[in-house]
Subunit: 244 residues, 6 copies
């Protein structure tokens, strides 16, 4: 089984780092799952607005189409905001899974209430919009803002981790969260340490990219894909004349 | 006051037709409102999928930015699906109004329950998704599908009108609708006749483009625009390094 | 176009003040819109309870009927609580718009989350009830209470304004509001100054009466009115015998 | 314990009939509960619109105030539409219970889904509005319209009963109702026969006036009343100056 | 009328205490209502988890079946968590009422917003789950935790009462509650004193067992029971072969 | 990794059949996943009521505890109704997944609207209750009843399959479903054929046991389990004295 992880931002990942990432991720799946990782030739450098999403959409779509042609079994969108999820599902027959939707779907199975750690400063509502579009607002206890921005996540490890732990604890103690969802796949490197800390309280921490890869694998193993009634193949311009 | 109506599809409207349309629309506003109409250089020929929306997004964004620079006071998106509404609101300070959101917001003021006439065949859920994203699902009684496709709307006037009247009546009688919302700005030419027919039952018919123009005019007159906390200006790539 | 603004409280507004108010409001509309302002002969002195609403209802209804007979094109109810909105819509064919519903409908278009400034002390739930009756509870972040009462709004300008600014900022910073809605048309004189202050944060401030007048004008220009299926004409007593 | 049943329509009930009604209703309560029945001096002849409600409101309020002064322990509003419930709760400290709210609250305890038999023709939405104001829309399966009007309920007993049985069965079989709620206290005389019929299917039939009387008795026995934070005593005009 | 109060925990109540309890409860009902009280032979010592509920379920079911055979008219489950409510309703034709559901249903009639006093420490979500299963989440303002555990409720009277008063006041002042619901029938002995205190603010305090007994009495007097379509009689194993 | 599939009904599965089933299911997972299958010594013969669930709960709990002690990595409950899910999650630290919750969670990822095929006759509401407890009611289009009962599912293959196909198609065409969820794990043997048929329409068919096994595998691979704040370990009776 081959799964393409599509990172919706531009920028070459150098081969060493790319290999490293794939090795880390491969630990989450069985050897029969071959993971691959691509980022965009044209797009924003981070996804922190709808505009950022739209800038890279054309290239996302192209790379998604290529993936299907190249025989990949599924595409995973490596971003909590699930950019280009809808058009990719329309265009492709293989499953397309967004990291944010996978994380939130899993969170809602594992506990009654969750909070999201958001890299950006308040009062951003992107996280709220994603939760709401999935119909899960009644389980959202709070969005906790780190105020670092996505690029700030690559700051000093101990500082960022300390902030994440402190906000996760406040989400549990002050807001009543039972599950913590990382609101950006850029937080993955803190995931293990944060999990260890929160496990003391019995609180699962969900890393979106890992959740999405596993969901994609499951869907492929089950022989399923998204409904073509919810995501019908777009008509080509010539076909639009003759709908009925 | 100058308002740009942005049609999210490609294709030159010839000058005669363009003038005609603007004359029709100008009847809905006072002489101090100057309307202008632009379509895209790059985009799909109709908006019947999320893919169609994304194809034209880059050009939509460019034309929106131009409009603000050129001193327009508001931009109206001439499509029920509100394509590129979110990124345009992020980028612009002048109000941006989508035809679908304006129509549904007005419908929810004018009556308890509404139904949407959708040009496409069942079981498309684009109309449901728009209603749901506005939080108005509890007022939606049904989506009635014409099964013509957007291009089919330019069929024989009497045939299309007859179908629309028949589906609107079924929405009222079978589904309990109190208001009819046209689910495509391409239905505008049938709007007057359908209204006359439905007025007999006390049922308002809402044409989305007209609703959006009037909402945009209102917002400009009130000196308002969308919240910049809901639609913050996207950071440029260089700014992303320094969020805090 | 002639629009009657109906203030649901008793008390003669002297002619100078009345002229002043109408001049202020006329700046929000084009010269073809003629505004008129009436208050009640019988009613409460403020609307701060359902009881206050019911005291003036008979006179509201009478004045609404007169307005339609006198050829007005729409009636605007000058109160956030929308008193007598339902029976007036049943009795009249011309549009009837409540200030509260217009403000909240506009707020839900302009941003993701709003808070209301309520003139009364906590824990009044009138504002919550109005939001809930419009199906917009998921967008309400908080009701911020001024604790002045409606009559307290005519206190020292700087004091009241200061309190409003401070509560509006807390709504944004502590409660996550993206839009501020004035919860009483008696706050209109603070509207401009508060807007200036909140604009610094990109937060729109919605004044209900202005919103309602503009919504009424839009509906008239579109040739629409409320659905007669949602607000059927009440039967006269003699007609009730013969429904079928 | 003394409970006043307040019928929100005008018209003298002759003493024989009044006694008869009170005897029937007294069978539902213990001998220590003294029931009394009053209708209005000024009001509509039926409650089939918000206008009808408002016409009688002043007299409802007056009679409610009298009841408290006269030492009644509770007031029951004898109408599914709960007219004047809000202002009466504001003005009175003794419990005030509306027939519609009591019926729907009980229905939601007894089963998963209910349907309402509405005396009026479709597509009236008064029943929907009452359900929605109580937050119970997710349990409403359908409103089944008899199309008789309130006055039509006093038609030939067998005809009306037959229609009610037939619509109640369709609510169960076609709409999935598990409980039937009578949507008008004017249906009380059919309640027993309809119950017998629906009991065959295990479907409870809820008569609103009986439900309301029993709820009022319970609340009095528990020493409770409505929250004065939800229904604060209206300020007198002189008090409004000094809120803080 | 005979009503069995079924306490879902094991443990003999000595006869003196049992008599005392029944005398206290009998003050809430008329002399024609005979109350009886049983606890379990097999079960947990308190109900503070779903596990606790399941341990006693078999005995609950047996005692419920006995009660119907013995001619009781209703069964009341003496626990806020409503343990075994669903299977008992399936098995019995006489009404079965849970203390938690009765309390919350009454709370939602008496005011706009309620808070629950929960005996356990945060962040337990049992109270939230019960509210949510009844569809009343939009009226829940907060769960206030006493952190004592159920057994801690039998601590020093003044200490426990003081804590309850302090948390109830915070629910009103900080969370906006208009009604206080006791989240455990073990709080009954504090109910009167707490009510007296909260009455000063116009805030009703609802004791679940009292609410449930009165609801059961009402349902019996009305000749009603739960819908057998919502709670169909379970098939015996031999019957399962022949459903159609 | 070892996963125990716990069938909540009594009855020995003979070894041949047991091996067969495990072989079929093992095709859905990688060789490193060892599946095991147990049914109950004490319990009902099918789960078609809450009573059926409670009969087997004690044995379910015992076998769940054994599984954890025996080193299983997860427990899957082989029933759409998720019996004993809550107490098992409280007692166990290893993940416990119910077939119904896994199926519905997956359905909500794969499409906008789903319908459930229910083996029982109408108007059962068990399926509705499960959907509602997961907060997914807004995505449920219909419950389609086969009217066979669980035991009827082992009828003539072609007949049952034919009925399932016909109801699934009606769910799509008449009710607007985009995804079909099998509402009983007893429908597994029809799953492949039904999927083939519905794939023609682009409609995924979700078999609950397969979905649950894959979800359990994913959660184990991710090193996660349910939140212990949502499902805290039940206190032993001796511990209950000392909560604080």
């Amino acid at each position: 089984m081959r799964i393409l992880i599509l990172t919706p931002i531009k920028g070459k990942v150098d081969d060493t780092r790319r290999k490293e990432i794939l090795e880390e991720l491969s630990e989450l799946v069985t050897p029969d799952v071959e993971l691959d990782l691509k980022s965009l030739d044209h797009g924003a450098t981070t996804i922190e607005s709808f505009y950022d999403e739209y800038i890279g959409a054309a290239d996302m779509i192209e790379k998604g189409l290529e993936a299907e042609r190249a025989g990949y079994n599924a595409v995973v969108i490596n971003c909590f905001m699930n950019p280009a999820l809808n058009p990719l599902r329309e265009l492709l027959n293989i499953p397309v899974i967004g990291a944010g939707e996978a994380a939130l779907s899993l969170a809602s199975v594992l506990g009654d209430f969750f909070s999201i750690l958001d890299p950006d400063p308040p009062p951003r509502s992107y996280s709220h919009k994603i939760v709401s579009s999935l119909g899960l607002s009644n389980k959202l206890r709070s969005v906790r803002y780190l105020g670092l921005g996505v690029s700030g996540l690559s700051g000093r490890f101990e500082d960022v981790l300390g902030l994440m732990i402190s906000e996760a604890k406040r989400a549990v103690e002050e807001d009543g969260a039972h599950v913590i969802v990382l609101g950006c796949t850029g937080m993955r490197r803190y995931s293990k340490k944060l999990s260890e800390e929160m496990n003391k309280y019995g609180v699962p921490v969900i890393e979106p990219l890992s959740a999405a890869i596993n969901l994609a694998v499951s869907i492929v193993r089950l022989g399923l894909s998204h409904s073509k009634l919810s995501y019908p193949n777009p008509l080509k311009d010539v076909e639009k004349e003759n709908v009925v």
